[in-house]
Amino acid sequence: MKLLLQCKIVFVSLLLVSGCASLTETQMKSISTFSHNYSKLALTPGNIIRSNIEVQYLDHRLTVNQDRLPDLDKIRNKACATGCDSLTEMYNELVEYKELQDAHVRAAQALDAILKPIENYIVLLGSVADTDYNEGLSENSQALASSLNAALSEIPQNITSAQNAINAGAAKTTAENVFMAKDDIAKASSYLGTITYWLGKAYVRQQQTKALKIAVTASDPAISTIIDDLVGILDIYTDEKSSIRTIAQYKKYKPIIKQITTEKTLKLRNTIGSAGLTESSYNEGLTSETEIKIKLAISEGVATKKALEAFKKAHNSLALSLQKDPSGENGKVKYADFLDSAQTMIEEMKEVREFQKKLEEALLKEKDKK
């Protein structure tokens, strides 16, 4: 009785939900692919800030070598010991630059980190949209059908004696009842596996749709404003018309003065050289390598902006298609928009990846040179 009740509860609940509107398998797969494509490429919007630091510091006499971070206090004390005020002043400036540099590096890391919660959410979205649940369901129902068939195949052998009884005209009613029971079980079993699979699948699909609808609808406004904020930050660095002196206006950077080549500077050079500091592009201005890196960083920033905007659009279309009946006409139109935007996102992301690769190569080349 307990077993019968258990089966009954499961199948009745499956029947109740099977009629609700759900996403098709193709729609589920495309959401899963969307998630997979987004999470495959880690966007790094902070790169543009990092590159900006490099450009900004070209304007100045010294840049702290990030690979060999010096003990600035020691250097300052050494400078003070020489009694050279201007050197002390320069060291103080250096400390100030270093603090600013660090603040911008932290900002770059924080900007990259903002995308992490979005990534976590998208990965989970893909997990819920994944068709693996149904594959598991298929395995279960197949197991059920095969166990039913195995059990039923044994029944006729066991009732051969009952058949003999019927042939003998004896205990006809009892034997006929046995056959009737066998026939009923046979009929039920032939459909049971299929019913379990289809109802189970419909139930799971309906639950998946429900979970996705709730999550995508609730997260869409947040995703939209987060992306707008990120694009706004990237605009500071990539928009030449912003008139805020950043990497976007790198062409305005001119070689720094050549006049400070006095004895003091030579002394300073000797001191900083021994302390692990490097002179930046002193007297050089923009080198061709730096210019290449800047161009790549700006291109990466622009491509990242486009990829983020395409992602925002795709997510918004997905939310709208889920708010409508996904299988209805309006839902289908919005779903088609989602597919288009998701495709654009993939293309933009490929571009981002290309710039990232080139930038990495440029950095490696520079490292090898050093």
């Binding site: 919660p117 059920l144 166990s147 034997a175 904020d229 930050i233 003065i257």
Partner: protein, 124 residues
């Protein structure tokens, strides 16, 4: 300081820095004059970078706060994911239950067959 004010100040500073850059290129200025210009430029640049840093910090903090709602949604999705896995498990259990049911029915049929056989024997 509001974000828009920071941007305005940065724009003004940028303009001044650009003007200084042009003055620095003037051959008529002697070394002390250029040195002063440079010092002035350095100070302005530090101010510009500090304001930019503050602007970034504020914008990032605001955006970061917005991601908190996503964390809650992600939690709900995780729960839904676990629930769906639970559904598959329940169906598996149902399959096992039906399996047992079939086994019991099979035994009932066997019993009925034995009864029928017994009835035949008794009649003959």
């Amino acid at each position: 300081m509001a974000g828009s004010e920071r941007i305005k100040i940065m724009k003004v500073l940028t303009k001044i820095i650009d003007e200084i850059d042009e003055l620095r290129e003037n051959e008529d200025y002697d070394y002390p004059a250029k040195k002063n210009l440079n010092q002035c430029r350095q100070k302005l640049w530090i101010m510009h970078q500090s304001i930019l840093s503050a602007e970034l910090d504020e914008r990032i903090a605001i955006t970061k706060a917005k991601t908190k709602s996503l964390a809650k949604i992600a939690q709900d999705l995780k729960a839904a994911d676990e629930r769906l896995n639970g559904v598959a498990e329940k169906i598996s259990q149902a399959a096992k239950a039906v399996d047992k049911l079939v086994e019991m029915t099979k035994k009932s049929v066997e019993l009925a067959a034995t009864v029928a056989k017994l009835a035949t024997t008794l009649k003959t």
